[in-house]
């Protein structure tokens, strides 16, 4: 999903609404929150893998966007800008707390109990989700953000670099390293 595709899948947010929100119109900003809550929350969830923390991070992202809207450059894509705020916030949060690896095994028991009453599809979906969590949780914060931007939102190297405030060559090397790590982790997950 490139920025253009991402913009299209969201509820139509006209540049006028963005301009109104920029000038301090809370109702216009409420429309923006309504439109961007899913991609922002999804990014926060994939970065933090905790529903409560993802909710807080998404709320924090919108608050940061609202209180710093004056800094938003209208020539830049709004999606890129808001996802960049979310990514930076999540990277900081991730650095503050390091998830112990044992937590993953504990959550496996929580998700799939021995005698699961759930249908097979549901169990398989949960297994996929857990596998994904293992894959992403083992990546370094910035590498994880780069992978999410590339494979969820289909961002280019340039867009990822802009979002994470790093150079394009750094994006390339981080993605290279992340892919190697993912391949190794996938082998372990199987």
């Amino acid at each position: 999903m490139s920025v253009e595709k991402l913009e299209r899948t969201l509820i139509d947010i006209s540049p006028e609404v963005i301009e109104q929100a920029k000038s301090g119109d809370a109702d216009a900003f409420a429309l923006i929150v309504e439109a961007y809550q899913n991609p922002v929350y999804n990014l926060c969830y994939r970065m933090l893998y905790n529903e409560g923390e993802a909710e807080d991070a998404a709320q924090e992202t919108f608050w940061k966007a609202w209180s710093n809207f004056i800094k938003y450059d209208s020539n830049r894509s709004f999606s890129t800008w808001i996802l960049s705020i979310a990514a930076h916030y999540c990277i900081d949060q991730q650095r503050k707390r390091r998830v112990p690896e044992t937590e993953i095994d504990e959550s496996m028991e929580e998700i799939i109990p021995e005698k699961s009453p759930l249908p097979e599809i549901e169990v398989s979906r949960k297994e996929d989700e857990l596998r994904l969590k293992r894959l992403l949780s083992n990546l370094n914060e910035i590498d994880r953000a780069a992978v999410i931007f590339r494979y969820w939102y289909d961002f280019s190297d340039h867009e990822i670099a802009e979002n994470l405030s790093i150079s394009e060559s750094a994006v390339k090397s981080r993605l290279f390293r992340a892919r190697k790590e993912l391949a190794l982790l996938w082998n372990e997950c199987k």
């Binding site: 409420a30 929350y41 608050w63 969820w152 993912l182 082998n187 997950c189």
Partner: protein, 177 residues
């Protein structure tokens, strides 16, 4: 760089390959188990990521946002006010300290003492003048003061009497019933 390393780089780089390079990679993957595993594992992990559904927040996210915004705006206003007060206080402190330093320098000490004595003299003159102005209105002010006290006294008597009368009437009505 041997073929092994080159193919590994092609797999992990995800760069577009020429038809010849593609063929070379295909041939290598058919005979090299390690590179084939790397290719398959990467493909599997990326498919897992790409196919994962979008996570959505719990219902009512926008409502929670509105509530948080109101609370945070109030908090921000309070913090801004405190910051403003602190800034003004800091400015006043800096100005006071710097003026003290200037006025109480050994060279300025006599001058400062003279300024202070002049200032005190000026204040005493102003107080004296204010006393003179007030003495002109002494008698009217006395009348107004006594009148106000009398009016207040009458009001208290009337209010007490009327309350007592109302209570008596209510008691009479209750006993009649």
């Amino acid at each position: 760089m041997n073929t092994h390393e080159m193919v590994e780089k092609w797999i992990l780089d995800e760069t577009a390959l020429s038809p010849e390079e593609s063929l070379q990679m295909k041939e290598h993957l058919a005979e090299c188990h390690r590179c084939y595993c790397l290719y398959q594992n990467l493909k599997g992990s990326l498919t897992c990521i790409k196919q994962a559904p979008e996570k959505k927040p719990a219902p009512g996210f926008s409502v929670r946002w509105q509530q948080q915004m109101i609370l945070r705006t109030k908090e921000k206003e309070k913090t801004d006010l405190i910051h403003r007060i602190l800034k003004v206080s800091a400015l006043i402190s800096v100005l006071s300290i710097s003026s003290c330093l200037v006025f109480f320098l050994p060279g300025n000490l006599i001058k400062t003492a003279l300024y202070i004595s002049d200032l005190l003299k000026f204040i005493s003159v102003q107080i004296h003048q204010l006393g003179t102005i007030l003495s002109v209105f002494k008698i009217p002010l006395l009348f107004i003061g006594i009148g106000s006290i009398l009016l207040l006294f009458i009001y208290i008597i009337v209010a007490t009497l009327s309350t007592l009368t109302i209570k008596r009437i209510r008691k009479g009505a209750d006993s009649h019933e």
